[in-house]
């Protein structure tokens, strides 16, 4: 049974010349989970907002939207800003309060919803004490408390780390399966989203190009398309090796695909070259805690970085990764240990630490911007307009806050590079970034490396570090437990590794990125 039907929907924003949505027609059945995907700026959010009457954008609209149901729930990207009140229980009750539902009924429903989502233990805490993942779960739960019949999620995991994101998607799938709730969601982490969805809707320039089951939708794709970058590793390998048979979507399907289609006579690639510059950062036995009575956040941290290297620090949330960067950037002071930057102790630097020496880009890149437009922002720090990188040119007249997370990261990186730092510290540089923008960040970092800049990046993004790092370190409970080149690092890890590596484990020896797997597949003979 159809719950939502859209017929010939056209939409033009007030004041805009071009149509944002063009002739959109589709219908969604009761209980389906539909994944809407497309490159940044293709009109995904506009379409979703058109579906929710309270959030309709301003502009000219033609066509019909027929919805056979009651409430529509809507969850947005930013976990923080969607929260209205100061206490978790109050947030859950907020929507119900607005509907003027009696006290007793609210008490019942919030209790039920809190139990279902496992919120019981933090029911009475302050909303600001929650982690990003918890906040987004709370947003979902408070929307669910209103018992919607259609749930719309607009990039709900963009601001979350991969583990929290995976958990969130699992919860969404659970709601879909257990309650038969119809869900339409957008995602840029297609690796996890595609296996969870019943149907896939691909949008290009305001039009829906494909709307079908994931396998069918992907089989029609070409290797060169812009959407290619968004696809899961298994799909990329499938498309790059000439599409043999059924399209694999998950890691296990990818494994079967490779082992049934390709030989493994040549099973390893030559090692990447090791960087052999002089050591420019030496961190030795650093201990740090926020509180005198608190626990050690950095616990004997020791590592060193060579000139011209890209060093990626990976590890779980709350293991102290970000703190480690803050201590190196002298924003927090360690109570024991020594840090030497370019052979000089950190303590001996004063304000000149940040002059042509070290620069730190925090996780929340919004804090980098102080101006009204991207152009002003970059011109102020001495980059003339004609020198803006190609990716930034089309954004130059926008307000920095209006950019997507990935675009903000690009601009922020450019702003910080204007200081000509020799050592660059990045905290989660790929957070909230779609695969396409990620590509340009990786290229930018590789370019920097050639000019001799050293980069230390703290990240959750395994695929990112596999692709651009020279060395990776595993951060755990306040120190680096192990390190090595991406090949050593990821082929040694069993769980904490790239999808490509998991797909080829035991079959190929040191392939960790999609490109490496494809190279190996091509070198080997095809099976019949």
């Amino acid at each position: 049974m159809e719950i939502l039907t859209v017929e010939n929907l056209n939409f033009t924003y007030a004041g805009a010349e071009q149509e944002t949505l063009r002739n959109v027609s589709f219908s969604v059945n009761q209980g389906e989970m539909v994944l809407l995907c497309g490159a940044t700026g293709c009109g995904k959010t506009t379409l979703l907002r058109c579906l929710k009457p309270e959030l309709n954008p301003f502009g000219k609209r033609t066509g019909k939207i027929i919805f056979n149901g009651g409430q529509i729930g809507y969850v947005m990207q930013n976990p923080e800003q969607q929260i209205v009140t100061d206490k978790v229980f109050h947030e859950l009750a907020y929507g119900l309060e607005n509907l003027n539902i009696p006290q007793k009924e609210i008490a019942w429903r919030t209790a039920e919803i809190a139990s279902y989502f496992g919120i019981g233990s933090w029911f009475e805490t302050s909303t600001q004490e929650l982690s990003g993942g918890q906040k987004q779960l709370l947003n979902l739960a408070s929307v669910m408390a209103m018992q919607p019949e259609l749930l719309i999620l607009d990039e709900p995991t963009a601001q979350l780390d991969p583990i929290a994101a995976a958990e969130f998607l699992m919860t969404v799938r659970k709601i879909n399966r257990e309650l038969g709730l119809t869900i339409i969601f957008t995602e840029h982490r297609l690796e996890e989203a595609i296996p969870h969805s019943d149907k896939m809707m691909i949008m290009q320039n305001g039009k829906i190009s494909v709307f079908a089951e994931p396998e069918k939708a992907i089989s029609g794709m070409q290797e060169q398309e812009e959407l290619f970058f968004l696809m899961p590793s298994a799909v990329k390998i499938f498309l790059m090796t000439g599409k043999k048979g059924k399209c694999p979507l998950t890691v296990s399907e990818g494994r079967t695909y490779i082992s049934t289609n390709f030989e493994n006579e040549i099973n390893s690639l030559p090692e990447r070259e090791k960087i052999s510059g002089e050591t420019i950062l030496d961190v030795r036995n650093i201990y740090f805690r926020y509180d005198r009575k608190g626990a050690d956040i950095l616990n004997g941290l020791t590592f060193s970085v060579k000139q011209g290297e890209i060093f990626c620090i990976l590890g779980e949330n709350g293991s102290g990764k970000s703190t480690c960067l803050k201590v190196i950037a002298n924003l927090q002071r360690s109570y024991s240990g020594e840090i030497r930057i370019f052979g000089k102790a950190l303590k001996q630097y004063k304000n000149n630490l940040y002059q042509n020496c070290l620069a730190f880009l925090p996780q929340d890149v919004q804090t980098v911007f102080l101006q009204e437009t991207v152009k002003k922002e970059l011109e102020e720090v001495g980059i003339p307009e004609e020198n803006f990188p190609k990716a930034i040119q089309p954004l130059k007249n926008k307000h920095p806050y209006d950019l997507s997370g990935g675009e903000q990261q690009l601009v922020a990186l450019e702003k910080i590079l204007a200081r000509k730092p020799k050592l660059l510290l990045l905290d989660e540089p790929t957070k909230g970034m779609d695969a396409f923008t990620k590509k340009s960040i990786i290229e930018r970092l590789k370019l920097l490396k050639e000019t001799g800049v050293t980069v230390i990046a703290v990240t959750h993004d395994i695929e990112f570090s596999a692709e651009c790092a020279d060395r990776c370190g595993m951060f755990f409970r306040g120190r680096i437990m192990g390190e090595g080149t991406p090949e050593q690092f990821f082929s040694r890890n069993h769980f904490y590794t790239t999808a490509a590596s998991r797909m080829t484990r035991g079959y190929y020896r040191n392939a960790v990125t999609v490109e490496e797997v494809v190279t190996l597949c091509r070198k080997n003979q095809t099976k019949n």
Partner: protein
Amino acid sequence: MRNLEEWHPAVLFVYFAAVMGIAMLNMYPPLMISCMIGGGIYFTVRSGKIKPHGKYFLLWVILAVINPLTVHHGKTVLFILNDNPVTLEAVIYGIISAVRIIGVLYWLKILSDVMTSEKVIYLFGKISPKVALFVSMTLRFVPLFQRQWKKIYDTQKAMGYFQSDNAIDFFRERMRILDILITWGLENGMITADSMEARGAGTGKRTNFSLYQMHTEDKMILLMIIFLTGIIFIAQWKGMGMNVYPEIIIQGETFWNKAGGIAYAILAIFPVIWEFEVKLKWKYLQSKI
């Protein structure tokens, strides 16, 4: 069986209003002493700290000394200091009013500890659900702004754009943060507004949800507070109180004076008794298990 902070917010509000309100209205010395002792003991029992008392004692001495040095009313002159008379009345008034101020300070300290934001919101919600929502949102936004300020400052510093080695730069940098913080606030506000609208804000009358329930215990406590307060008011009407200037007049030991004093003493010491009773009951319950 529940601790003081678990009482129903309305009961708590009435209790604190009664204890502090009466202390502010009437200067009958036994009342003042009860107020200070009750507050002081309960403060110690709650926080387990003795140190702050030293600070309060010092404050008490200062307050008590200031009054006779600045106020020269009263007819019994004790001695002349710098051509100004120091009177017995001013000395006594100083001592008693200092006791009153310290007592009320103790109670305020306890109040701010016990009356959390939710309770305040709940009480406001009884008057207007809209005001309650406003308070709740404000309580969320203030720390959010503070944190963002610090974050922006740290970022700019670590990028090397903020030097602040002179006063003008220092001021200019902070103005810029404030400037962008306003934009940030508006931007955030828009998302929050969308989120509110998406959940049916402003569609009509709203309920105010809270986790509080009025238990029988709460009702009993409330009745007791009203009863004791009633006695004190009657006593006051019958003349309980103290007149200092120009001459100290305290009504003799009448029935109502005694009743009022005892009623207030019970009221002020009640949380301490309650605390011990709760502890005892727990011990008893556990020993039974």
